[in-house]
């Protein structure tokens, strides 16, 4: 007798492994892995540090179907080295994105769960971040939407946050976080008075899913289930914006306006208040449905930039 929940779509995205997320995200049985763990493409660097390796280097890539349509997918395993980018991990993602140019899938889905670049192979990791961003822009320029799904334990930090910024659309859940410098990094450099990394409510209202959705940093806010991310991915593919000069200029204008409007705010709740949220303190406690209703009535949150 198994005690476990068996419906992969009912599972919590935050709790699920990279493979479990893919299992529930794609049409049942459609996933075909590229460079699977049996090929043992592992980090050449970690043994130098006496650190354990993973057969897939913490990234699962492949093709599958989403509601019948062909997609390419990449899922980071946040439980292996915080989902961090190393040489093999990064190369697999770059290769997948470049393959999209020839395969012309309906979309590339990136399931982010990363703290950024792996310190032990930092040069290779940083290079990979740059190559991934370039590959994403090339895919988008070729008309292939790149959709980021963010709701894992590690969030999308460091280079992962930068890559997320180049995607066509992003879906985020409450547990998901998007930023470049992590809370501990900010505290270490600027002091606990500037940013207390142990104050998790502060961390989440500054970097968490709801805040990113409210300021237009993500395009959809979803419940923490695999099913909700699947629905969001389907909807976002259909809403991917054009990738042209007009879009980039609109994004530049939006970011300038954002800085002018909110630059002096000391806390996310002040930003929410200026956005027109009546009771900013209540935002973190809202359910996804109530939050969606709130977002629908605000400016700034919907745009085609990026």
């Amino acid at each position: 007798m198994s005690e476990r929940i068996t419906d992969p779509r009912a599972a919590s995205w935050y709790e699920a492994s990279a493979r479990a997320r893919l299992d529930g995200l794609l049409d049942s049985g459609s996933f075909a892995e590229i460079l699977g763990p049996e090929q043992r493409k592992m980090s050449p660097h970690l043994p130098l540090f006496d650190l354990p390796r993973a057969f897939d280097d913490g990234l699962v890539i492949g093709s599958g179907r989403l509601d019948g349509r062909p997609v390419l997918v990449a899922a980071q395993e946040g439980r292996f080295m915080g989902g961090a980018f190393g040489e093999v991990h990064g190369a697999k993602l770059v290769g997948l994105l470049r393959a999209a140019l020839g395969l012309k899938p309906a979309a590339v889905l990136i399931l982010f769960d990363t703290g950024g670049v792996r310190l032990q192979e930092a040069n290779a990791g940083e290079t990979a971040i740059a190559e991934v961003m370039r590959a994403i822009t090339e895919a988008r320029a070729a008309g292939i939407p790149v959709i980021g799904l963010i709701g894992g334990r590690a969030g999308a930090y460091g280079g992962g946050g930068l890559i997320a910024g180049t995607c066509s659309r992003l879906a985020v859940s409450e547990g998901g976080r998007i930023s470049v410098s992590g809370p501990e990094v900010i505290e270490t450099n600027k002091g606990a008075e500037e940013f207390d990394s142990r104050d998790r409510a502060l961390v989440w209202r500054t970097m968490g899913g709801k805040h990113r959705r409210l300021i237009g940093g993500a395009d959809t806010f979803v419940d923490d289930t695999v099913a909700a991310f699947r629905e969001a991915a389907l909807a976002l593919i259909g809403r991917a914006p054009a990738f042209d000069l007009a879009t980039l200029e609109a994004e530049q204008a939006r970011l300038e306006r954002r800085l002018a409007d909110f630059g002096e705010c000391r806390d996310a709740t002040e930003i929410w208040s200026r956005l027109g949220v009546n009771d900013p303190a209540a935002v973190p406690g809202l359910t996804a449905a109530d939050f969606d209703a709130l977002v629908a009535g605000l400016r700034e949150t919907g745009h085609d930039a990026r």
Partner: protein
């Protein structure tokens, strides 16, 4: 001419000196140092209330600012050494001698100061021992305590964290001592009177609310599958088999996992109402799902927990609450309840040796005992039977007249074979022995002695020490669940298998548990937010535990 009222006369003199800084009983925070210098005498025995959670921090700061020329050589008798000021006063010469119980966060510094001779140590106690000594040979001359509010007569509302206060005040006020209370606010009328005003001599309005540490919050998001597996084994192999209704849990993740498996795994096993109904326990947030699913009949608390106040207030059938609706905790009574009225204690530890002695001491830290040795011991003074207690007694009895058999309390250690940073939990020799030698402790700081431990649960299985008949069997039973530690690898395989055949060592499969089923989906709550949902929004977790 009376020779029988010397202490009273001294008390009157202290109070008269203190009154010059007070308006009635009330002293502003800015005069707290003057007050303490007026009422304290060199060499006084002083209880500066430092509980497991609640801290008289304003008075601690004031004491550390006293002039060591006026106030010196104090003998501190307090349960918790928690704040830096608690040790600063020893460096300054204000205090000299110490009798205490628990020093969690200051464990490293207190070890250095003991080693350096800056503290003259009386003894490290369990809570109940120290409380008992308040009434025999460690009665305070001055008690500096903390409450939420007071009126001008000194009637004191302690709030949900009553903890040690009634015990400290009882010993001090009724034996010619002076009691000073710091409060967050002074009201015309307090919500409820926890300490009557005629036992409080001075009330200091603190500059900021007293500090309470959230010690009992375990985030379900950090719970591992190994901990879940151990919790499944404890539920099926111990709780169900002994029918444990009355119990106390430690504060580790293993026991928190048990709490979160009651409404799911234990429910499927059909154990609802059969186990875990009556508790001596702080209000653990991880107990909320079990309470909400109707598992828990009642809970008596040592102290409270940050963020649980509104929830407790709305669940008076479960918790002990006052006429005002808020929790009434009491450490002395709850410790007594855990010792005499519970059939099981289960908790974690850092080191277990080959006989089953355990300790939370490492070579560089003296964390003290707190209440665990009281909970984790078999009270020989117990005289009331229960099915659980009698079953354990029958398992333990080897010789003698069955008519004279007495029961046994179940004392269970639940540990992963490798702890934090992959340090082995099983050792040949406890670090506590080396520490005792180094700093000259007469008694090695053993948390739970081998003769009190009845079961050890690890991810490898359960060792039932009650059923062991020789020391050799006992050692092999412990090695038999010690996994890949040195101790575990040193086992006699044939003997462990024979112990397994006798049910002394049991593996998950012997209990009908599939280790792959130990999955986080079994947790009734997987995050702090889930706990908030379970509580109907009544639980208000502190910011550091929120990820929304």
């Amino acid at each position: 001419m009376s020779h029988w009222r010397r202490e009273q006369a001294e008390r009157d003199a202290r109070i008269a000196a203190g009154r010059t800084h007070a308006s009635g009983k009330v002293v502003p925070a800015g005069r707290a140092v003057d007050l303490l210098e007026a009422i304290l005498r060199p060499g006084d025995r002083v209880c500066l209330e430092g509980d497991n959670q609640k801290q008289a921090d304003c008075l601690a700061r004031a004491l550390s600012l006293c002039d060591p020329a006026k106030v010196h050589d104090l003998h501190m008798v307090q349960s918790g050494i928690v704040l830096p000021e608690h040790l600063d006063i020893f460096e300054q010469g204000i205090a000299k001698r110490l009798d205490y119980s628990y020093s969690g966060p200051q464990g490293g510094r207190i070890a250095r100061m003991l080693f350096g001779g800056q503290i003259e140590l009386g003894a490290v106690h369990t809570y109940l021992e120290l409380f008992a000594r308040y009434f025999v040979d460690l009665t305070p001359q001055v008690a500096l305590i903390a409450g939420v509010s007071a009126d001008r007569e000194g009637n004191l509302y302690t709030g949900p964290n009553t903890e040690d206060t009634p015990t400290v005040v009882e010993a001090t006020a009724f034996k010619n001592g002076v009691v000073v209370a710091q409060v967050n606010e002074i009201l015309d009328r307090v919500p409820r009177v926890d300490i009557p005003g005629d036992r409080i001599d001075f009330v200091v309005e603190a500059d900021r609310p007293f500090y309470v540490e959230p010690l009992f919050t375990r985030d379900p998001a950090a719970m591992t599958e190994t901990q879940i597996l151990m919790a499944m084994m404890a539920i099926k192999g111990i709780y169900a088999e002994y029918g444990i209704r009355r119990l106390n849990h430690g504060i580790g993740f293993g026991t928190a996992a048990i709490e979160l498996l009651l409404p799911t795994y234990a429910e499927k096993l059909g154990l609802k109402g059969q186990i875990a109904t009556h508790w001596a326990l702080n209000p653990h947030p991880t107990l909320i799902p079990a309470i909400e699913s109707g598992w828990v009949r009642q809970v008596h608390c040592f102290g409270s927990e940050v963020g649980m106040d509104r929830y407790i207030r709305e669940r008076p059938d479960v918790f002990f609450t006052g006429a005002d609706g808020s929790l009434r905790s009491n450490r002395a009574f709850c410790q007594t309840a855990g010792l005499y009225a519970c059939d099981l204690f289960i908790g974690s530890t850092l080191q277990i040796d080959l006989m089953g002695h355990s300790s939370t001491v490492t070579q560089s830290r003296v964390a003290g005992f707190g209440g665990a040795p009281n909970m984790g011991s078999d009270p020989h003074g117990r005289r009331h039977p229960s099915d659980t207690w009698m079953k354990a007694g029958r398992e333990a009895q080897t010789v003698g007249d069955p008519a004279l058999m007495r029961g046994r309390k179940l004392v269970v250690q639940i540990v992963e074979t490798f702890g934090d940073k992959l340090v082995p939990a099983f050792v040949e020799r406890l670090d506590a022995l080396e520490l005792a030698r180094k700093i000259g402790l007469e008694l090695a700081p053993v948390m739970v002695y081998a003769d009190d431990v009845t079961h050890i649960v690890t991810e490898e299985g359960i060792a039932n020490l009650l059923l062991c008949r020789t020391l050799d069997e006992r050692e092999q039973a412990i090695r038999g669940v010690a996994g890949y530690t040195e101790v575990g690898r040193g086992r006699d395989r044939a003997m462990v298998e024979s112990l397994r055949a006798r049910g002394i060592v049991r593996r998950p499969e012997d209990l009908g548990i599939e280790p792959l089923d130990a999955d986080r989906s079994l947790l009734a709550a997987k995050s702090i937010k889930d706990l908030v949902h379970w509580s109907g929004g009544l639980y208000d977790p502190p910011a550091r535990f929120r990820n929304w």
